[in-house]
């Protein structure tokens, strides 16, 4: 096939900032997960002290990255990519449950204007609206325990409560990551196409139905 055909020419989907943001976030989140799991007592590699110091350093770096990313999303309007939609959700589910096995093509193709399929939108929205805030709020409560220990909040909320939320949200994040990594890195055409798009910014995917906007 020739790239002269406009429907198959690689299209820029992700901007350099998005690529940087995604992979920086990947590193930080994995670092946070490993140090967090070590602190929770799952294993001992570097000891609690260095795991904790690393965890906090990574957390501040991720907060910084998020501030940058939020600013970018707001100013570019890219935040719309994360607004969930019911439309096409069932067909995405049906595709992963059935169509993908029988060789049907995906009922959705990413474009620069709409980068995520409806299922992705829902999953990312859940991550951004539920898992991440739960982690940030509980994490900051844990970090600044001394500021609220002797206030009314300290009387109402035992330290174990934000810790439980933090651990629960981290485990939920792991569930999200497993599904995300599997779907995002193996279900393209060819199978690694999505991963390639996240690295190069370009996608070969072309629309076969009306999902493209």
């Amino acid at each position: 096939m020739s790239n002269n055909d406009p429907s198959t020419r690689p299209k820029r989907i992700f901007s350099p900032f998005e690529i940087f943001w995604h992979w920086a976030q990947t590193l930080l989140i994995f670092g946070l997960l490993f140090t967090g799991l070590e602190m929770s007592g799952l294993f001992t590699l570097t000891g609690f002290e260095s795991a904790f110091a690393t965890h906090i350093t990574l957390a501040w770096m991720l907060i910084g990255l998020w501030i940058l990313a939020i600013f970018w999303h707001v100013t570019t309007g890219e935040w719309r990519n994360y607004m969930p939609t019911g439309q096409g959700l069932m067909s995405m589910l049906a595709y992963y449950a059935y169509g993908i096995f029988s060789g049907e093509s995906k009922p959705y193709a990413k474009t620069a204007a709409s980068k995520h399929n409806p299922l992705q939108r829902l999953a990312y929205f859940f991550f951004k609206a539920a898992i991440a805030p739960a982690l940030w709020i509980s994490g900051l409560l844990l970090l600044f325990y001394n500021l609220w220990r002797e206030t009314l909040l300290g009387e109402l909320l035992p330290l174990a409560a934000p810790a439980a939320v933090h651990v629960g949200a981290a485990l939920a994040l792991m569930v999200f990551l497993i599904v995300h990594i599997y779907l995002a890195s193996t279900t393209g055409n060819p199978w690694y196409a999505h991963l390639r798009a996240m690295v190069t910014g370009y996608s070969n995917e072309h629309s076969t139905d009306s999902a493209e906007k």
Binding site: M39, F48, F52, T57, A163
Partner: protein, 553 residues
């Protein structure tokens, strides 16, 4: 996975180290500016060897005191108002009358009936019975605190007097000091003089306190950064500052600084660490967690990683119920293990420990005692002194403690602890006749005479388990040897079992974690199943395509 983690961690280490490693450092203190000048540099304005009054010879130690008082006219009155003299302490929080005159312990029980032996650690002479005159000025022992020759000793059974001629005690010769020489060489108190009594608590070196023993006379830096000559070279009174012969610091009511004054040698907070180190002694680093910990964890908790670190084991159990075993000659049986007695027919069975982790309790600084009048439950271990405060008590912190377990006599009818007449020539003394009934009756009679109790001994005695708690505050290790975060933040860490505490890394959330890991496991299975099915279908389709191509060919 582990390798990936190591790489990530190693990469981040530079950043983290720059930001956080400073936590391990100690805030440098300008100790020289804060402390009183060392005695040698102070240069006393009086050379005591030039005083005629101190030329001697002295027949009796009280004559030395009389000579001292000729110049130091108010000294004895000051000592009289000190706990070192009157052995009484009114605990303002619990309103209990404490002090060695009133409390009971699980070592040798108490002073009543055992004056001559116990008063070898009294800053006085002649406390032989309940009629001792606490107003007698010449009975004050100046030398026990102010000796600098190292030759002054109080004979263990002479009611506070030194030996006036060389005498034997348990096979050891105790030399009579030259009182005139001692008097002419008086000076400030030292680690040795305080240690004469405080290192020997419970009747021997390190017996009573796991954090106070003779290893502190000349401690290496690793043992005690403050008292070591290689460190700050503190004496006891550097922190336990004396003013008018009254010292700061008490085990009945510990100084718990609450305000947040910065680093300054603040005498009002002594002997607490905060008096010099302030309430935020650690560099904040990236997270300031160490300073946050100090809001509810005593400095000693991390900075005394182990107790009895000076090479001397401390006693952790004293079981009187097994005492009284005699050998064929009628002498008390003595058994030793690793150089320490584990059984003594006079005292019972002992256990010792060395270099071990203290235990931890919430503590607001106030000790509550079970006194002779207090009813006990003999089916339970009697807590003789209970550190007060809980996780929700304002100002309470987690403190390290050593504990002494005991098994000691109690009154079966009155359900109270008992004190026994152990020492003395009388047949009622336990160490004469080994008859508990006699010894307890005599002990309780003496206790009544000093107002310790109004109760008689009913005649029915048994033995009850008991425990005493000693707050640990000495033998501060170098910063790099203090407890690591890991010591508590790991499963079964040091704080295990302590109420009112959530320790990340030690405490888990079993239900959330079970649900979470199940969800992760099932997701992994689903993904693997999904992926395998796709792969198999893909292979199947490929081989069908190849077959049809071959057929076509």
């Amino acid at each position: 996975m582990i390798k990936t983690y190591r790489t990530i961690t190693a990469g981040l280490f530079l950043v983290v180290n720059c930001l956080a490693a400073a936590n391990a450092d100690h805030t440098p203190l300008d100790t020289e500016a804060m402390l009183d000048p060392a005695p040698a540099e102070m240069g006393s304005t009086a050379d005591h060897s030039k005083f005629e009054q101190l030329e001697g010879p002295f027949e009796d130690a009280t004559e030395v005191t009389a000579a001292c008082l000729e110049c130091h006219t108010e000294a004895a009155k000051q000592v009289h108002s000190s706990i070192h003299w009157h052995y009484e302490f009114q605990q303002p929080e619990t309103e209990q009358d404490l002090g060695k005159k009133n409390v009971i312990n699980n070592l040798c029980f108490g002073i009543a009936g055992n004056y001559q032996r116990c008063s070898s650690c009294h800053v006085g002479y002649g406390w032989e019975d309940h009629e001792f005159d606490f107003t007698a000025e010449e009975q004050v022992d100046c030398l026990v605190c102010h000796d600098t020759t190292g030759s002054y000793v109080k004979f263990p059974t002479s009611a506070g007097h030194p030996p006036y001629e060389d005498r034997e005690f348990h096979g050891e010769t105790i030399a009579a000091p030259d009182l005139a020489e001692v008097a002419q060489n008086v000076g400030p108190s030292s680690r040795e003089t305080c240690g004469t009594c405080h290192f020997e608590g419970g009747g021997g070196d390190a017996v009573k306190h796991g954090d106070l023993d003779s290893s502190l006379i000349d401690p290496p830096y690793e043992l005690d950064v403050h008292m070591s000559p290689e460190g700050a070279d503190f004496t006891c009174s550097t922190c336990h500052t004396f003013s008018g012969h009254i010292q700061l610091g008490s085990r009945y009511k510990i100084t718990m600084p609450e305000d947040e004054r910065p680093v300054a040698a603040d005498p009002h907070q002594k002997p607490a660490c905060e008096a010099c180190h302030g309430s935020e002694p650690h560099d904040s680093g990236i997270h300031d967690k160490l300073n946050q910990h100090s809001e509810f964890i005593a400095c000693e908790t991390c900075h005394v990683p182990e107790v009895a670190r000076g090479g001397k084991p401390t006693r952790t159990l004293w079981d009187w119920s097994e005492s009284g075993r005699m050998d064929d000659d009628g002498d008390p049986v003595v058994e030793t293990e690793d150089g320490v007695p584990v059984y003594d027919g006079r005292k019972g069975r002992f256990e010792w420990r060395e270099d071990y982790a203290p235990e931890y309790h919430w503590f607001d600084g106030n000790m509550h005692y079970t006194l002779l009048d207090d009813e006990i439950d003999p089916t339970e271990t009697v807590t003789i002194n209970r550190p007060m405060g809980d996780h929700d008590t304002p100002g309470a912190k987690i403190w390290p403690f050593t504990s002494m377990k005991g098994r000691q006599p109690y009154d079966k009818e009155h359900k109270t602890l008992l004190t026994a007449h152990l020492f003395g020539d009388e047949p009622s003394a336990y160490w004469q006749s080994y008859d508990w009934s006699e010894a307890l009756a005599a002990g309780m009679e003496e206790a009544q005479k000093i107002g310790q109790t109004e109760k008689d001994f009913s005649g029915e005695y048994g033995f009850v388990d008991s425990i005493m708690h000693w707050p640990v505050a000495h033998m501060i290790a170098p910063a790099e040897d203090s407890l690591s975060c890991q010591s508590c933040h790991e499963p079964d860490g040091r704080m295990a079992g302590l109420e009112g505490l959530y320790v990340p890394g030690q405490d888990s959330h079993p239900r959330i974690e079970r649900i979470g890991w199940w969800a992760i496991g099932l997701t992994l299975l689903a993904v693997l199943g999904h992926g395998s099915a796709r792969y198999l279908l893909y292979r199947h389709k490929r081989s069908k395509q190849e077959n049809s191509q071959e057929e076509a060919a």
